[in-house]
Symmetry: C2
Subunit: 392 residues, 2 copies
Amino acid sequence: MRVKSDMASLTREKLAQAAALVAATDLDVWMTFVRETAEGGDPVLPLILEGGLTWQSALIVYRDGRKVAIVGNYDADPLAASGDWDDVVPYVQSIREPLTAAIPAGARVGLNFSESDDKADGLTHGMYRLLEGMLPDRQLVSAEPVVLALRGRKTPEEIRRMREAIQETDRLFADIAAFARFGRSEREVYDHVHALVKERGMSFSWDPAGDPIVNSGPNSMIGHGIPSAEIKIEEGHVFHVDLGITKDGYSSDIQRCWYVGTAVPEDVQAGMDAVNAAITAAAEALRPGQPGWTVDEAARSAIVAHGYPEYLHAVGHQVGRKAHDGGTLLGPRWERYGNSPLQAVQEDEVYTLELGVTLPGRGYIGIEEMVRVTSDGCEWLSERQLSMPCLA
Amino acid sequence: MRVKSDMASLTREKLAQAAALVAATDLDVWMTFVRETAEGGDPVLPLILEGGLTWQSALIVYRDGRKVAIVGNYDADPLAASGDWDDVVPYVQSIREPLTAAIPAGARVGLNFSESDDKADGLTHGMYRLLEGMLPDRQLVSAEPVVLALRGRKTPEEIRRMREAIQETDRLFADIAAFARFGRSEREVYDHVHALVKERGMSFSWDPAGDPIVNSGPNSMIGHGIPSAEIKIEEGHVFHVDLGITKDGYSSDIQRCWYVGTAVPEDVQAGMDAVNAAITAAAEALRPGQPGWTVDEAARSAIVAHGYPEYLHAVGHQVGRKAHDGGTLLGPRWERYGNSPLQAVQEDEVYTLELGVTLPGRGYIGIEEMVRVTSDGCEWLSERQLSMPCLA
């Protein structure tokens, strides 16, 4: 729970990256405007600040690289102590005066709102209305390009932490394979993973009520269901786990599956091969400059060509601080995805590649890998699961 | 981390309360509109839903009491299984069609936005813009009165959980008194509390980087500072701790202090008496119907009458799921508090009563108690600290 001493270098590294990103846009300033962040707050906050903020607070990065924090007087000392900010301006009664002084009339102000991306959409509507009132004669526009690039393009330190999270996830999958057997319920597997994650001082990369997702056989709830105490692992099932953990602030998101029995039947083998062929097709399509939807289309065509139905989600999403980390999506051009699948893939983004097929009478074969985008393609961060082990 | 089985009764109890609150307004529907809630999401969500939601989701309560959830297809099964919703409508490609079908043209739609209250301000600006596009010809207005009453007015089950959280906090203060002594640093005390809270399976009610706040002597950072490894407990110090924990989803927020030495000096005793006189004045002013600022003014006048400066915060805030739980504030009519201090206190709200004075050469004397508003006054939930114990 405590702020690590190496957090300081991470926030400073990300603030420097932010200044460069602002300078590459037509924004005069990028402003993160928050209050009472203890309950979550703006998703961009942990990238640029240790700890929390209580009263209305403005974290401002100017296009010339200057960084100014305007915060309630009780929050000022730790911010000043961090050394990350050129100026920390405390206030007692109202932020209006220091804020209007900091943002000149006519300025083009990038704010954290976005219709298509929740990770660039940390500004609440009430806070937006407050800004409208306090900052007339300024242009309040979306800072989506800055926020998404800041979040998506991982620094070496961020990649190092993600590799560690993946390593811990692999270890948990080995523990799961040792624990799962005939007669164990989905819920028992879930409880076992929760005990291990707690013991190892880690947390979950999505809502822990549905992490891990555990499915055994054809009657299980696929997706973000709650693991069942009634459904038990039985011969002939496909046993499937979707697990993500967070370590040192960075996350994993991986799916693995097993056949319950002594020999993998032909239909299960065929399903597994089709899923992996589609993941390979996605990886081959993934490189900087590609719009996200083209990568999804490569996988979608491959699974259909193998005679299976289309999956009802995106073939890949970015991973970072959370399992679903926003930004460009490797997904179809469906309305609910907004612009996310239209944007271009960039170097140093980390994506999942994931899909599955449901086999009648068997269950769900789902595989999810993690990759980093390189200058001309991608590298696997997870070790691919290409064959289906047996559980008995 | 797991959803408790008694959560179901809590969400159902709160949804029934919500329906009654909507019927008492001029709203046709109250709608909570969220996506990707794993990173926090709308603060009202845990009151009405177990677990999380991934795609754009609308949780709708009509004024006739009907409750409808429109969610991505992977989230539908657990919602249907909860039994809390009259109808769960799953979608795959876009929420637009089921949403426009659910909200008739001309309807007055209460949404979770508020300029003055973060706990009623869970709708992001990007999500508001989406709704504007999808729901033309509807009136989109603030649902602040519904959300604040739902959150503020505690049910018996909520009060029961808060009493437990307070009991655990008292136990931690006893542990702190046993651990703190000459030469221990603020940071060591903080670390000790973190170890105990982890061991007891609880969490912190505000950002754990600054919970507990630990201050010893005149050179400590008051407020939301990070406890110092350099500042140690020394003779003549006032030693002060502000601590809040969360247990079963409900929180405490309490301040206690000690004098470091063998006998409490006169100036420390006088400061302590003044602080408690002001807290008593606040408690005597607190009852249903009072605007929050009048309670603050009672305490503020009392501390000034005792010859100490005004405190730079509100004398009380609501506590519930979090330490700072929004709604009516027992605070001065300063701009940054918006309308919160103008609203009337209601029965079954839980407040802190808190303030302090800084003594030159000694440190900060701060006391914070917790009270529940009754039909004609308030009852103490915490056992008041009226005298100053010695630490040595």
